[in-house]
């Protein structure tokens, strides 16, 4: 079964590892015909598309889970929602097609709605100029922490679209489409870090992942190939 859930409110402050455990327990409470892993510590077999950073909210978090019997997707959704804690809910599910690749292999991009709250009001013009500057830059280097220490990466190819959708006063909202693959992609907080540097200000950033786009499966939200030119091959 492939399903998508929402994560909002207090529960968005739980880490990805904890979310996995929350889902496992919810599935057990829902009394689903679960497929279990082998070994002394069997747990339901699930696979997640990608992790959502702790503190981000999301409404399109896709995951897959193994069932031992066929089940109507509506029934799956209904039972899961009766067992999920406040702040998490499944809004859609479908039975995976035979031979389908894992979600992690198919994912290409994600859309982020980002809210910025600043102490001083910001002008719409300033915001647009800053975003424009990022989009026209040929290279945006940022430091990234990795296993082998700090590493410099170019963020520009990871930004597919970016625009200001609300401005005025001390809150601004941005709509950013970034690449997303199993092993990484655009980091919304890193994007905002660069943007805030350009604006020469500081503020509180809230990130909401509103959409995840895939290739190669008709039942999943489709990634439009028109932007593919800017997508580095995985």
């Amino acid at each position: 079964m492939i399903a998508a859930y929402r994560k909002e409110g207090g529960i968005s402050y739980t880490s990805h590892l904890d979310v996995q455990r929350i889902l496992h327990r919810a599935m057990r409470r829902a009394d689903l015909p679960l497929m279990y892993s082998q070994g002394f510590n069997p747990h339901p077999i699930t696979a997640f598309c990608t992790a959502l950073a702790t503190g981000y909210t999301g409404e399109c978090e896709w995951f897959e889970c193994g069932l031992t019997q066929e089940m109507e997707p509506e029934e799956f959704t209904r039972r899961m929602n009766a067992a999920l804690p406040n702040g998490m809910s499944v809004w859609g599910s479908f039975v995976a097609e035979e031979g389908m690749s894992s979600l992690a292999k198919l994912v290409r991009a994600a859309r982020y709605l980002i809210t910025l709250t600043t102490k001083e009001p910001l002008q719409e013009g300033e915001l647009e100029t800053a975003v424009e500057k990022m989009l026209t830059a040929t290279e945006i280097t940022v430091d990234k922490k990795s296993k082998g220490g700090m590493r410099t990466v170019d963020m520009r190819p990871q930004i597919l679209e970016a625009k200001v959708i609300k401005a005025g006063g001390c809150t601004a909202r941005f709509d950013v489409l970034g690449t997303l693959f199993a092993d990484g992609g655009l980091r919304a907080d890193a994007f905002m870090h660069v943007l805030l540097d350009l604006l020469g200000t500081d503020g509180f950033v809230e990130v909401h992942r509103s959409e995840m786009l895939f290739e190669g499966c008709a039942k999943l939200p489709r990634f439009e190939a028109s932007s593919a030119a800017t997508v580095p091959q995985n």
């Binding site: 880490s15 327990r25 409470r29 279990y36 510590n41 804690p85 509180f204």
Partner: protein
């Protein structure tokens, strides 16, 4: 609280899920109700692992007119953020400021969490001392095992619950609701509470000290208060079997599983063990109740592990029928059953065979002392032969991880006893290597853990001196040297400085309230966390108040000396404890009271003990 403010806080701290609530089975209530803040003076992961607090949460919320919410000690990063933002500490359920509750109730499980009480009170905007809190402020109460000697925190608490809390706490709350309705003064309210068995009102008594600086007596300042406070006990655990729908944390916690309490109390009578004395008599839950409870809890939580909890689950009289039945009923749900404690005796192979099917976690045995002589002194009735038979069975069944618990600094201990710990470890290691290679699991992991003995009130060793820090460290070095060459073994010695402070507080008197406040003001927090423990600051706090840690921890009490906790009646009599202290010195053991009554309760309370 403003949501943006809350989000800012949560974004700024480590492990924000400690403060968000919203877990499965969290209780929600609307409208105006009597507000009880159930506080645990340590972080969420620890507090949520405490069964007693979980029971109280559901018992109190079972009262329609009450909304009981949880509050945990903020980790140092959250404390700093709250102070920076000038925000109060808040509850998990409704994010209400702690100072706005009607009652603030703390669970006290270990002395080294006391400094966190002060953090929580300060972040609630409340004065530390009960005498300085005004009529419109919340009542501050506490309970838990530390409450048997409430004197070190007597100045802070308005009321203290001594003994089992699940019956008396709702009774107290009913009185408080009535008092609020009638707009009674705090004094009148406390007076009413003092009529309940198990409730101690510290402000109704005053401590006096002798010329030599020792505690001399506690004087009643309110004629209507009881002379002695009798521990509260729940007689039948089957009638109080209600545990509610256990909250399932969103983040990992220390004991992340369903916990079912199979019995309360222990019949073994280990002379150092406070829990062994203050939870008497043994009260078992019936097999039926346990099976039902375990199944209900597994279904409403989704947990995949059940732990059968008690001080000594191996002693549960129906264990050999309960264990296979409960394991069978859980197996189809893919739930494993954990036994936190096994009895080291002839039936252990049988128990281990039953546990074969589940994951082979480490096995823990607690011989506590290295020689038979010292085990007789502490009345730990386990022989070397028993232990070796048990570990041999475990090794033959494929276990490779064994943990042995010992204590250093027990009364009458000599260097021979220390060497005995290493000898025992060596013999255990040899047992492993004597099992044929093809029969045993790969790679022995033998952990020898040595903690420091802390004399506790209401034990046979409440008069005993603790070893000095130098002496403990010398013995640790000696043990380390003796352990050389024990194959597959690793030695862990617990930091002893903390144990000395714990000893001071466990046998402390009322003067320690000021020491605690001084230490807190010097920055002491989370003392049981090695990275936060500040021994220097604690030492200064004692000095500033004209006291020393050594005076409390190291001094052997005279057998007739007045004890600061003597007004608390835990039902086990002081006469019995004296008898046990004498027998310890003579290296004589006392039988398990399942084999016959040893007369530990006084005449008046004999009937409270149902063990024949």
């Amino acid at each position: 609280m403003d949501t943006l403010e809350l989000k800012r806080l949560l974004t700024a701290v480590e492990k924000p899920a400690r403060y968000t609530g919203e877990e499965w089975n969290m209780i929600r209530k609307e409208g105006d109700r009597f507000r009880f803040a159930l506080c645990f003076p340590d972080v969420y992961e620890i507090g949520m692992s405490h069964l007693g607090s979980r029971i109280l949460y559901h018992v109190l919320n079972d009262m329609d007119e009450v909304y009981c919410e949880r509050v945990f000690a903020p980790w140092t990063d959250m404390e700093a953020e709250l102070r920076k933002a000038k925000l109060p500490l808040f509850s998990l359920e409704t994010k209400r400021a702690l100072g706005e509750f009607d009652v603030i109730g703390f669970s006290l499980l270990y002395e080294m969490c006391y400094s966190n009480i002060l953090t929580m009170l300060e972040l609630a905007g409340l004065p530390f001392l009960a005498s300085q809190r005004s009529e419109d402020m919340p009542l501050v109460i506490c309970g838990g095992p530390c409450a048997v000697n409430p004197e070190p925190i007597a100045a802070i608490m308005d009321a203290v619950v001594v003994g089992d809390g699940e019956e008396v706490t709702p009774l107290m709350v009913s009185i408080l609701i009535e008092a609020k309705r009638q707009k009674l003064s705090r004094h009148e309210t406390l007076m009413r509470l003092s009529k309940l068995r198990g409730v101690y009102i510290p402000s109704f008594y005053e401590a006096e000290y002798a010329q030599d600086g020792h505690f001399s007596k506690l004087v009643k300042t309110n004629g209507d208060a009881p002379d002695r406070v009798r521990r509260r006990i729940v007689k039948d655990l089957d009638t109080t079997a209600f545990v509610g729908r256990q909250v399932v944390p969103n983040m990992g916690i220390v004991h992340d599983r369903v916990a079912v309490e199979v019995m309360r109390g222990c019949t073994r009578g280990c002379r150092f063990c406070q829990a062994g004395y203050i939870y008497r008599p043994v009260r078992e839950r019936s097999e039926e109740t346990l099976k039902k409870q375990a199944m209900e809890l597994v279904e409403c939580t989704g947990y995949d592990e059940v732990s059968l909890l008690s001080l000594s689950t191996g002693d549960y009289s129906e264990l050999h029928t309960l264990l296979p039945e409960i394991m069978d009923s859980m197996a189809c749900k893919r739930v494993s059953v954990a036994l936190p404690s096994l009895r080291i005796d002839s039936s252990i192979r049988e128990d281990l065979e039953k546990m074969q099917s589940v994951r082979k976690g480490g096995l823990t045995f607690a011989p506590e002392a290295g020689t038979q002589r010292l085990r007789d002194v502490i009345n730990k009735n386990v022989t070397e032969e028993d232990l070796l038979t048990a570990v041999r069975a475990a090794f033959e069944l494929g276990w490779t991880g064994v943990k042995l618990y010992f204590m250093i600094g027990l009364p009458t201990e000599t260097d021979e006893d220390i060497a005995g710990i290493a000898d025992l470890a060596r013999k255990v290691s040899r047992e492993y290597y004597s099992v044929p290679k093809e029969k045993r699991g790969k790679g022995l992991r033998l952990t020898v853990s040595a903690s420091t003995f802390v004399p506790k009130p209401f034990t046979a060793f409440q008069w005993s001196a603790q070893n000095s820090l130098d002496e403990i460290r010398r013995k640790q070095r000696l043990l380390n040297a003796c352990m050389k060459g024990v194959r597959g073994a690793e030695l862990h010695c617990h930091p002893s400085q903390l144990s000395v402070l714990e000893a001071a507080f466990s046998r402390g008197d009322r003067r320690l309230s000021s020491v605690l406040i001084s230490a807190y003001q010097k920055g002491c927090r989370f003392d049981s966390w090695a990275e936060h423990f500040k021994p220097q600051e604690w030492e200064e706090a004692f000095t500033e108040n004209g006291l020393t840690i050594e005076e409390y921890a190291l001094r052997e009490r005279d057998i007739d000396e007045p004890l600061p906790w003597a007004h608390i009646d835990v039902l086990v009599t002081q006469e019995y404890l004296k008898r046990e202290y004498d027998k310890a010195k003579q290296e004589r053991t006392t039988r398990d009271c399942r084999e016959g009554c040893n007369g530990c309760f006084g005449k008046d309370d004999e009937n409270d003990c149902r063990v024949p």
